[in-house]
Symmetry: C2
Subunit: 249 residues, 2 copies
DNA sequence: CCTTGTGGTTCATTATTTGAACCGTTATTT
DNA sequence: AAATAACGGTTCAAATAATGAACCACAAGG
């Protein structure tokens, strides 16, 4: 792997941690030499992607991404455009709704609107959504060109719960259903007690670039209701794409 | 320079552009070989920091920073904490207010609240603020340890307008005044027609980590009013620091 | 006071990055 | 319509930067 790739993977690793981490620990976790990890960290810090706590000497994610994110969103206001749709869907469905975007080979949550109900599903913003185990991932995967689906399903599929579909053929069946309906449903594939329905957000070229998902506790989620919610999610996803891409060419 | 440093500088360069850019242009601008630039871009794209337009083949800032920014802000909600203070100050002063944060060797705007007035100053979110030529920069610089001020003023100071203080001693005078008052004032040092007052946001250790600035059109900005606004900005900056650092230890 | 851990550094060895020259394609220019 | 210039992208020997074992100095614990 290139040096740059290694450094960016180190940054990814740091981003996944929810607390500061020391040099030795980080070297172990990243399987990099301590000296190498340090050089990477110095470079990353110089550019603001990482910062070191003055007193504990531990490292954490820096502030530079905030600036870059502003610039990105000024030009591609995906979250800003989608937010009203997300909110409306959350109110309509009465459940937590989250928006995800594909980037860097992963689908990750970039916006969440919590359900108003006391008993609701909690979604972490920034969390990575596995393609085969979440409604969002299935919705995204289903509308990808066949070759890319094959590549995604080629490696072993991690098990996240007792209900995770870890067999490629089983996933393919889910994908076929998803394409037919226009939305996916994942029954506790990622987390026990949660059922989700999701629809892809498609570029004008027909390629998925993200997903819109509704997550409900199993207690409230009979299948008729989930299909109803799925249809609403698909409509909202189309609305987002239309508004987002309508303004540009 | 390290390979990583070069790649991150390339990313910075791309972030400064407000439109997509082709490989050859980018190689020229960054003074990198075309093949090298391409390898960097591939690595950056693989991690989502850069994306390539499918049809034009031009490159632009990717979506990965949005995800990292979410994670950073979940742990350090600087913007979220400061936003109400920024808004209140904008209403109180009746002028555009912007918040900046130091990161990666630069002070950059991360939040803006526009004045309600029709004739108002426009500030770009994500813009980099030169230390010697903006009120924010002066406010930040003034409270830095002497050694770091020396280092910042050692290199030649760029001229942005006819009023920019490009002489290190002239800047030092401005910094002394800033420390005494607790806020800085920049009279058209960055942009003709704009006068700003800014106050530093200090960590519990007394080190500046950002600045809060009010920008007014010269037409409305007599000095008595700017001093009044400066005092208000200083109070708001203290409020932000207290709330932001009060919650942690 | 000895052990084990930490963050950080050194420098000969090694592996990666580099860039001139090269494709094939696509806009311009003549 | 031919010629030219510019584009994005690729190749591979030469040059350079990354690597990591061994090394500090220090702190905490036994």
């Amino acid at each position: 792997m290139s040096t740059i790739g290694k450094a960016l993977s180190l940054l990814d690793l740091i981003s996944e941690l929810d607390k500061d981490i020391g040099l030795s620990d980080l070297a172990r976790l990243s399987a990099l030499d301590k000296a190498t990890a340090r050089r990477f960290l110095v470079d990353l810090e110089r550019h603001g992607f990482v910062e070191q706590d003055e007193e504990t000497r531990r490292y954490r994610l820096g502030a530079a991404p905030v600036r870059l994110a502003r610039l990105r969103q000024a030009r591609f206001p995906f979250v800003a455009v989608a937010a009203p749709f997300v909110k409306a869907l959350a109110e309509e469905a009465g459940e937590t709704v989250h928006l995800s975007e594909f980037s860097g080979g992963r689908l990750s949550t970039i916006h969440v609107e919590d359900s108003a109900q006391a008993h609701r599903v909690i979604v972490d913003p920034g969390a990575v959504l596995p393609f085969h185990a979440t409604a969002s991932g299935l919705a995204y995967l289903a509308f990808l060109p066949p070759g890319e689906i094959d590549r995604a399903l080629a490696r072993p599929l991690e098990r996240f719960s007792a209900h995770t579909a870890t067999d490629a053929d089983a996933v393919r069946t889910l994908l076929r259903e998803t394409v037919e309906r226009g939305y996916s449903i994942s029954q506790q594939g990622f987390e026990i007690g949660v059922i989700s329905a999701a629809a892809p957000i498609l570029t004008p070229g027909g390629r998925p670039m993200g997903a819109l998902a509704v997550a409900a506790p199993t207690a409230r989620a009979d299948m008729a209701r989930m299909h109803e919610i799925g249809r609403k999610a698909a409509a909202a996803a189309r609305g987002i794409a239309e508004k987002y891409y309508g303004g540009r060419t």
